[in-house]
């Protein structure tokens, strides 16, 4: 019997099996940000165990509220900053270099096929796009990860999601994953890994694969995962050239992780996306999804383009293509937040930032900010936001606010008209 990619990664990292069904894995990456890490740091200090298992495997960033908005967030940042300095963690990203963790860490080449990755952040599943096992955890798991370099998981069961057909013009990875979540439901993949396969995924860029994997958690999934291939190698090449010499050698090495043809799956689901329309959420759960055509005309007060789901350069290009030469409706506040300094800089060089500014968007520094209602675009009671983020929970972007999740192109179209709009009709 063959193995899935998750089974291969688990087998290669198995450190202990304290009880049947419990796998304690050794970790290649423990990622940290300033919201969930400070309590772990404080607890380690209190226990007189203020140590790190491997400072080169720990990466840290201040991203959720940056620059700090008040004394409390300044303290959180300071706790993380002081800890990173104390332990001489080489890869710590602060003001001027910081960005949204799930965009920044892949961009730095930190995530490789076959890796095990945890972070105190549910969207850690994003990193599965590289053929890694990457899971969001709580602060206690993070604390043990920092101290011991291990984390416990149940035996992996995988749902294989085949994305077949070909994507129509104007329909992108965000629409695919919203559609999949709509079919699976918000707990359809609990304790499962979502393995994204098929010709549509094979043709996707790393950015698009990250968008897919980012939202695995919205169906309850432990991790999303894509097979490492030449697209993965191309993305990582600046970081792995020295190690492998040729791309073919890198691909040959990474191919060992690819799921075997005779691997067994918990379920296999087939989706044909050839006739898929852009997707938009309604209500307060990410599985409440409709084609944009059924939502057209719904009022929008704010448009938010950014986040770990859709704040990458491709996403900004896609939105800018819709916005070019147009203006944001007078009833709408447009906010764009490039997810990392590199993305911001590339967008400047490509003229994308100018397009956003000419349209009347506010351009913010890279931060998680408004996605979870912490800063930089919190909604007022009764307001609605067209957002490229990943959660539309009640109150998520501000108490009494409504969030409609959608692709960057659809969000840009909403900005122009002030109502939910099918970008293909503009």
């Amino acid at each position: 019997m063959g193995k899935t990619i998750a089974e291969k990664i688990f087998a290669a990292h198995l450190r202990d099996e304290p009880f049947a069904g419990t796998r304690v894995l050794s970790l290649d990456r423990v990622l940290c940000h300033e919201i969930t890490t400070p309590v772990a740091i404080a607890d380690l200090v209190w226990r007189e165990k203020d140590r790190v298992f491997d400072r080169n495997k720990i990466k840290a960033v201040i991203d959720h509220v940056t620059p700090s908005k008040d004394s409390k967030t300044a303290l959180q940042a300071k706790i993380l900053r002081d800890w990173a300095r104390r332990h001489e963690i080489p890869d710590f990203f602060d003001i001027g270099h910081n960005g949204v963790c799930h965009a920044l860490f892949p961009e730095k080449g930190f995530i490789r096929p076959g890796f095990t990755v945890i972070m105190g952040d549910s969207h850690t599943c994003t990193h599965g796009a590289f053929g890694a096992f990457a899971a969001g955890v709580g602060t206690t798991d993070l604390e043990v990860g920092i101290l011991k370099g291990v984390c416990a998981f149940r035996e992996p069961a995988t749902i294989r999601i085949n994305i077949n057909g070909s994507l129509p013009q104007g329909v992108v990875a965000k629409d695919v994953i919203l559609h999949v979540i709509g079919q699976l439901g918000v707990n359809g993949a609990t304790d499962r890994i979502l393995e994204f396969r098929g010709p549509v995924v094979d043709a996707m860029s790393m950015e698009a694969r990250m968008t897919l994997c980012n939202m695995a958690i919205e169906a309850g999934g432990t991790c999303g995962v894509c097979m490492p291939d030449m697209t993965t190698v191309d993305y990582l090449w600046p970081f792995i050239e020295e190690e492998f010499g040729t791309k073919e050698a890198a691909l040959a090495d990474y191919s060992m992780w690819v799921s075997d043809a005779d691997a067994s799956y918990d379920r296999v689901l087939d989706f044909d996306v050839s006739n898929l329309a852009p997707q938009v959420t309604f209500d307060f759960k990410p599985d409440r999804v409709k084609p944009v055509t059924e939502m057209v005309g719904t009022r929008i007060d704010q448009v938010y383009i950014g986040t770990c789901t859709n704040g990458r350069i491709e996403d900004l290009r896609e939105a800018a293509a819709v916005l070019k030469g147009k203006k944001v409706a007078s009833s709408v506040r447009g906010i764009v937040s490039p997810a990392t300094p590199k993305i911001f800089s590339d967008a400047l060089a490509e003229g994308i930032i100018q397009i956003f500014m000419d349209a009347g968007f506010c351009v913010t520094n890279p931060t998680c900010g408004a996605c979870l209602g912490m800063s930089n675009g919190v909604l007022a009671e009764g307001e609605a936001c067209a957002s490229t983020s990943n959660r539309n929970f009640n109150g998520r972007m501000g108490k009494g606010g409504m969030v409609h999740l959608m692709s960057p192109a659809t969000a840009a179209a909403c900005a122009i008209t002030g109502v939910i709009t099918d970008a293909r009709t503009l």
């Binding site: 009880f19 416990a152 109150g395």
Partner: protein, 178 residues
């Protein structure tokens, strides 16, 4: 992150599926760096008819009884912590989101899963008065009682989760073993 906990007590019923961690503790309070500071904000944004986050029933509760996929969404351990600092060390639900469930056991607290039919019976009791729940972790049994009426249920808990509860949490378990 924890010490040994008291399980059971009077129950508050949250009769809705898919209650997410943003509802349990809104993100704007994640700027706190101690668990205790979270205390007043428990379930502040819960969307549930008739529920009062400042009510006596929640204040007196030691147990939450709820439906499927409890604790979905964000990985924030602030969700179990806000229960912990409010004296709720036991949650009984039809099912959980993975991270929330693990966070509960990692803190040495109980996230007990019961079939829907059992949850239906407990929730039906709620109409008759305040439910008192006693939990026998070793025997994997729960008793839910109102006045002289009481119902017994058995539950499954994995050996690993049981070990976490016995150790007082994952930090204690891992520190002793790795």
């Amino acid at each position: 992150m924890s010490s040994k906990k008291i399980f059971g007590g009077s129950a508050i019923v949250l009769d809705r599926a898919d209650i997410n961690t943003d509802e349990i503790i809104p993100a704007k309070y994640l700027t706190e760096v101690t668990k205790e500071a979270l205390t007043p904000y428990i379930l502040e944004d819960l969307k549930l008819d008739g529920f009062d986050p400042k009510g006596e029933k929640l204040k007196n509760a030691g147990v939450v009884v709820t439906r499927a996929n409890f604790g979905c969404g964000s990985s924030r351990e602030h969700a179990p912590w806000v229960f912990e600092v409010n004296g709720v060390h036991t949650v009984i639900a039809e099912s959980y989101a993975r991270i929330f469930r693990q966070n509960m056991f990692n803190c040495g607290m109980l996230a007990i899963e019961l079939p829907k039919a059992d949850i239906d019976q407990i929730i039906a009791l709620d109409a008759e008065g305040v439910i008192d729940i006693s939990v026998d972790v070793a025997g994997q049994k729960i008793t839910a009682a109102v006045g002289d009426k009481s119902l017994d249920f058995s539950f499954e808990v994995s050996p690993f989760d049981k070990a976490l509860v016995a150790a007082g949490g994952w930090v204690e378990f891992a520190d002793a073993r790795y």
